[in-house]
């Protein structure tokens, strides 16, 4: 199957998933983001790349954080931005997803940034929207969250420069995590030495090794000698679904403590896509400690999303 994300020249036209993208494309995103980072420190934080373009944030699932960074990214590219919280609007009136899309198309918008609770929603919209519109996946079900993965890659590169020698551990609810799936794919494309996933069996998908990872059910063993520690958020509903006994027990087995972090390389960085459950996923002192790059991830999110927005629009032939 041809990758619907790419145009006929093999350039990014939509950004739906890391799956099927090669190293040069990911590196192009990272390099473009690099060029935007200095901008946020300037007095005037704007470039006219997407002036006159309209970007619609379509959030079928609530998320203040991701939506805010997308809004900021679009604004800094000088685009007009419209944010719709569909979770509370049209579809609850019985309007179908496709009707919502077609209505917005009729208003001549140029890009959809979509978050949806169902895996594959981004692909579905990309396949059914007008050809001049770019679609960016801001998280779909348990499938993919590729912009988050790219900002994580950007952060890793900032601190570690070269991906090749790195050992990366991803800890927590891999099963339900679209972030983890995208991170694993991106890390594999960028050629890290080893990716470990660390979780109890109830939070690992079946056949997880097929994603190209090494599985650990024990945190201490998994942390030994890693360069990057990525913590995932644990949702409260995992307890009621009989996947875990309690937050306390989870923290006992899989919570990141200062003592455990010492098992990783001394210069290991600690990442988290946010928001953190302090005392569940990690000790507060780590979140605020010297190895934490969690707030850096947030800042990088804007530059990376600017890069992805401008690249996809360019390749769809509409950027100036």
């Amino acid at each position: 199957m041809t990758n619907i994300q790419l145009n006929q020249n093999g350039k990014l036209k939509h950004f739906l998933s890391i799956d099927g993208l090669n190293e040069p494309i990911l590196t192009e995103i990272l390099n473009t983001a690099e060029s935007f980072t200095s901008m946020s420190k300037q007095q005037v934080k704007k470039v006219p790349l997407l002036r006159g373009k309209t970007i619609v944030n379509l959030f079928f699932e609530n998320s203040t954080r991701t939506r805010t960074t997308f809004e900021l990214a679009a604004t800094r590219l000088s685009a007009d931005v419209l944010s719709l919280n569909i979770a509370t609007s049209a579809t609850s009136k019985g309007e179908s997803l496709l009707d919502t899309i077609h209505n917005l198309e009729a208003m001549h918008v140029d890009m959809f940034v979509v978050r949806h609770a169902i895996s594959g929603a981004g692909h579905f919209i990309a396949q059914n929207t007008a050809p001049h519109i770019s679609v960016i996946n801001a998280g779909d079900g348990q499938h993919a969250h590729p912009t988050q993965a790219m900002l994580d890659m950007f952060t890793i590169r900032q601190y570690k420069q070269d991906f090749k020698p790195l050992k990366v551990a991803i800890i927590g609810d891999i099963l339900h995590s679209r972030v983890a799936r995208s991170q694993i794919q991106a890390l594999n494309v960028l050629g890290v030495k080893e990716i470990r996933v660390i979780a109890p069996k109830t939070l690992l998908p079946s056949h997880v090794e097929s994603l190209g990872v090494v599985v650990y059910n024990n945190l201490e063993e998994g942390l030994a000698g890693v360069d990057v520690v990525i913590m995932l958020r644990l949702q409260k509903e995992r307890m009621t679904a009989a996947l875990l006994p309690s937050e306390r027990e989870y923290f006992k087995c899989f919570g990141l403590t200062e003592a455990r972090l010492k098992l990783a390389k001394p210069d290991a960085i600690v990442m988290h896509p946010g928001p953190i459950n302090r005392g569940v996923e990690m000790e507060s002192s780590i979140a605020d400690g010297p190895q934490s790059v969690i707030l850096q991830q947030v800042s990088n999110g804007i530059a990376v999303r600017m890069a992805i927005m401008s690249l996809t629009m360019q390749h769809n032939g509409v950027a100036q």
């Binding site: 799956d19 997803l97 169902i118 895996s119 579905f124 779909d140």
Partner: protein, 428 residues
Amino acid sequence: MSKIHISNGHIIDPANNIDKTGSVYLADGKIVAVHTSETNGFDFTADKTIDASSQFVSPGFIDLSVRLRDPGQSYKGTLLSETSAAAAAGVTSLCLPPDTRPVIDTQAVVELIHDKAEKAHYNNVFPIAALTQGLAGSELSSMYALKEAGCIAVSNADVPFSSLLVLRRAMEYACSHDLLVIYHPDIPSLSNNGCANEGAFATRYGLPSIPEASESIAVAQCLELAELTGCRLHFSQISSKRSAIKIQQAKKYGLKVSADVAIHQLHLTENDIEPFNSAYHVLPPFRTDKDKLQLRESLANGTINAICSDHQPHDLDAKLGAFPETEPGVSSLETLLPLMLKLVKDNAITLSQGVAALTYKPARILNIQSGSLSSGLPADLCIFDTEQHWEISQDNWKSAGRNTPYWGETMKGRVTKTIQAGKIIHSL
């Protein structure tokens, strides 16, 4: 009624061990004789002779599971559109699962279906009665009355039972009226609204997944109940290796059980699914190579008795959405023969085994006088060309549902004529 002579065809009638060129004679809607050698003194003046040279002549296919979507969901398909698809597929008898709207749990609905079938000039629509009222899984349906009205078996389609006790009672009650129980094996709390096999594919694409055990545990449970109740049990559309092995063991042990498999499960696995293409959304889900190979082997060794189409036509909207949100099912009648022939080409089964799984074996499960070319049986036949190529396109498609993963592809093997009770109901 006219007298038909089908000449020069390669006759394949597994029930009678015929696999040879010859003639079939039909009169008054019945089979008169099959001759595979020169017969002197046979006096038959045909009104119509069909030259079947370089084609195969077999009993008409008997399909154990065809959703006609009628009554109740005529926006997906009608009895007329889907029985004409059946005719084009060489299917001369079909079983209609009880999940019509309204459900087949009263005589009135059975009569309605019979009336509609008569108007569509399609003879053998066999309704399967609901095992529980409204398919709600808790109270027994009036099985005896439904049997009287013409239901051929009882089933709860793919709707779960409220408890194993209800299933046990339903099996016992069906058994006392000598009704075949058709069971769709699935433990809903394990399949957990999944839409893809629990394997590498679902993991990669983050899809809610269904473990193999949600089927094989249901098979094991129901086999125990079959022994406890003594009922005649048929498993519909099994998809996994472990289910097949459990059924094989039960048969060896002496239980009265049978099983069928949907034709597409013998060809497609999770590896074949185009990411997020809803045409591949089917329940049970496409499994792994290991499962597919076991299903093929079980078909060859007779553990799986029959192949069915598991035809489920859908309207466009039902398949227009993100994969997990779309409705499962494939419009599969018209690919039944070419996909069966592909099994033969892959050396998974012989042509005779394939025809048997579509004719006398399902007839035996249903206990109907059909499925072979024995003299005196209804003249239900089909003639097919194993070499003809045809493209799946709007021009060549009868079903109202276009939801097949094979849409646009070229198939090899086509039914050229279908005869039901001596009447030609499909002719190319």
